[in-house]
């Protein structure tokens, strides 16, 4: 027996044991243990479930970035904090990897104060991977106070809204911004917002896109994704990555597996577990009600 099969067999026995203990003691802590097992086992030993089907909304964002000519400009807004890292970090990695591979110039910023560090780490990491130079191929503006006022300000004058970038350099002196004349929002070829809430995609739509009519795509946590589909259908967004699944789909399009794809097996097992628990609980409820 291979170690993988042995691992699955042992995990299966533990799983069944926990399920039995749950019914005997009816203690919710066994549900937590089952959930932990359902997540950890596929992460340690992936099942390699069949390929991920790519949805049209993810394809929309991918195709837009793929069709942008080299030298185009992308504004990427990191509107999330470390609490949403598992869902939005893989999206940011994919989008930056794709943009840099097509030699698209990236200007990044954020409307969430706690997310500035994580955004800087992603930008630096992806730029190093692609061999891109700071201020020549990408700029990280950092955070500015004012949430929606920042977007209004960007629509008028980028240099006044961000007099200095994250590293303290005068934005008027940054070669990429000067060369591409990126003084206002309207000058960007594409805007992508990665959002975990408010301020986020809706803020960009209200205070940015409504006036300047730029093309926009988005990535968001699963919690706010259902709300965003309305903007997709109306054409206000031309692409959307919803949660870790959206990231996994983008990773599969790029053929570069990351946390998104790695997490899909665990997503499937936990969803399966939740369905089982709902079914069993309902059966037991109706059975005891009859008595």
């Amino acid at each position: 027996m291979s170690p993988g099969i042995l691992f699955y067999a042992v995990s299966g026995i533990v799983f069944l044991a926990l399920l039995v203990l749950l019914f005997i003691y009816q203690d919710r802590r066994f549900v937590f243990a089952l959930m932990a097992l359902a997540v950890i086992v596929p992460l340690l030993q992936p099942f390699a479930l069949p390929g991920i089907a790519v949805s049209p909304e993810v394809k929309g964002l991918y195709k837009k970035i793929d069709s942008m000519p080299p030298g185009s400009t992308l504004l990427l807004s990191f509107d999330f904090d470390p609490a949403s890292k598992p869902e939005l970090y893989p999206m940011a990695v994919c989008i930056l990897r794709h943009a840099f591979s097509r030699d698209i110039k990236v200007v990044a910023m954020g409307l969430w104060l706690p997310g500035t560090g994580i955004a800087e780490e992603i930008m630096g990491r992806m730029a190093r991977e692609a061999g891109k130079t700071k201020w020549e191929d990408y700029v990280y503006l950092g955070w500015a106070p004012g949430t929606f006022n920042v977007i209004i300000g960007l629509g008028q004058d980028l240099y006044k809204t961000f007099p200095k970038d994250y590293y303290g350099r005068d934005t008027r002196e940054i070669p990429l911004l000067k060369k591409k004349n990126l003084g206002t929002l309207a000058k960007f070829d594409y805007v992508v917002c990665l959002a975990a809430g408010d301020p986020g995609i809706e803020t960009w739509l209200i205070y940015g896109q409504e006036k300047h009519q730029f093309e926009m795509g988005g990535g968001c946590t699963s919690v706010i994704a259902p709300k965003m589909y309305a903007f997709l259908r109306s054409g206000q967004l031309n692409g959307l990555l919803g949660g870790m699944k959206g990231a996994a789909e983008y990773e599969s399009l790029l053929n570069k597996p990351g946390l998104g794809i790695r997490g899909m097996d665990a997503q499937s097992t936990t969803h399966f577990l939740i369905i089982i628990l709902i079914l069993i609980s309902n059966i037991l409820y109706f059975a005891t009600r009859k008595k």
Binding site: P86, E87, E210, T221, G235
Partner: protein, 279 residues
């Protein structure tokens, strides 16, 4: 790997395990993690607010030139310095101070001026833009023609790179997208009828409102499903980090801290039991 990265990994593992220890029961490790989280987040936000708002946006443009002049004692430069100062910032400064009058009963009415400014500006900025972003485009999208040109369907197929099921009627076509429009239209009307309280829900209104509530339940179900997926994603993210930090390059942070926490929890349990027996 540098020492700070390893230290960061240990802190991350420690706090993650401390937070998850609450799933067992409330305990001192969880309390410690909770207090560290509150302290760090408040401290971090406060520091950034002081530096990014008060110093960068208020002190530097308004007061810094004057402070520098006083420090240097070069009073010949008083004129240019006064010109450098952004006097317009005095208006938000005064409004800000007016907000602070709330605790003083006699002059608390002054704060209303500042609130009126905030509410007025906010509403003035937001209302037209929200109508332009949410209301009109969504209304337009709700009422779409049911029949479209075949050419448009083909173009959409090419753009999406997927086959869109459709029935061709000569130059025209009825596609799945149009069928979805019909569902959306029916859904919007029925949900609006459900929330229409000026008419008694009887007969056709009752039937339409029942359809409306079915649409609402489906949307709640979808939202709950997405939320569950989101929460599981967060758990996956933490578990992925815990697995990564259990490697030798991080000096086995996860198994060592997990073992330590289990020992502490067992110890706390024993102490609590002894205390209970004594009382």
């Amino acid at each position: 790997m540098d020492g700070w990265t390893i230290f960061g990994a240990w802190v991350a593992v420690g706090l993650t395990l401390a937070m998850y220890s609450f799933l067992y029961k409330d305990n001192p490790i969880f309390k410690l993690g909770e207090h560290i989280y509150v302290g760090v987040s408040v401290g971090y936000s406060l520091t950034r607010i002081i530096f990014e708002y008060i110093i960068k946006k208020w002190y530097s443009p308004l007061l810094e030139p004057l402070v520098n002049l006083i420090r240097e004692g070069n009073w010949d430069r008083l004129g240019p310095t006064l010109g450098e100062m952004k006097w317009a910032l005095l208006i938000p400064t005064v409004l800000g101070f007016l907000l602070l009058t709330r605790p003083f009963k006699k002059i608390s009415w002054l704060s209303r001026i500042a609130f009126a400014f905030v509410v007025g500006t906010g509403a003035g900025l937001a209302i037209p833009k929200i109508i332009g972003t949410f209301f009109l485009p969504q209304l337009q999208d709700t009422v779409r023609p049911l029949v479209t040109s075949l050419e448009k369907v083909k173009a959409l197929e090419a753009a999406q790179g997927a086959v869109i099921p459709h029935i061709a009627l000569g130059k025209y076509a009825v596609s799945m997208a149009e069928f979805n429009s019909l569902i959306i239209l029916v859904g919007v009307i029925c949900v609006l009828i459900y929330f229409f309280f000026s008419l008694e829900h009887k007969g056709i209104v009752h039937r339409a409102s029942r359809v409306g509530i079915t649409f609402l339940m489906i949307s709640f179900g979808a939202a709950f499903g997405f939320t569950t997926m989101g929460r599981i994603s967060l758990l996956i993210g933490r578990c992925d980090d815990l697995i990564a930090f259990s490697r030798p390059e991080y000096y086995y942070a996860t198994p060592l801290l997990l073992g330590l926490f289990v020992l502490v929890l067992v110890g706390v349990g024993i102490l609590r039991r002894e205390k209970k027996v004594k009382t």
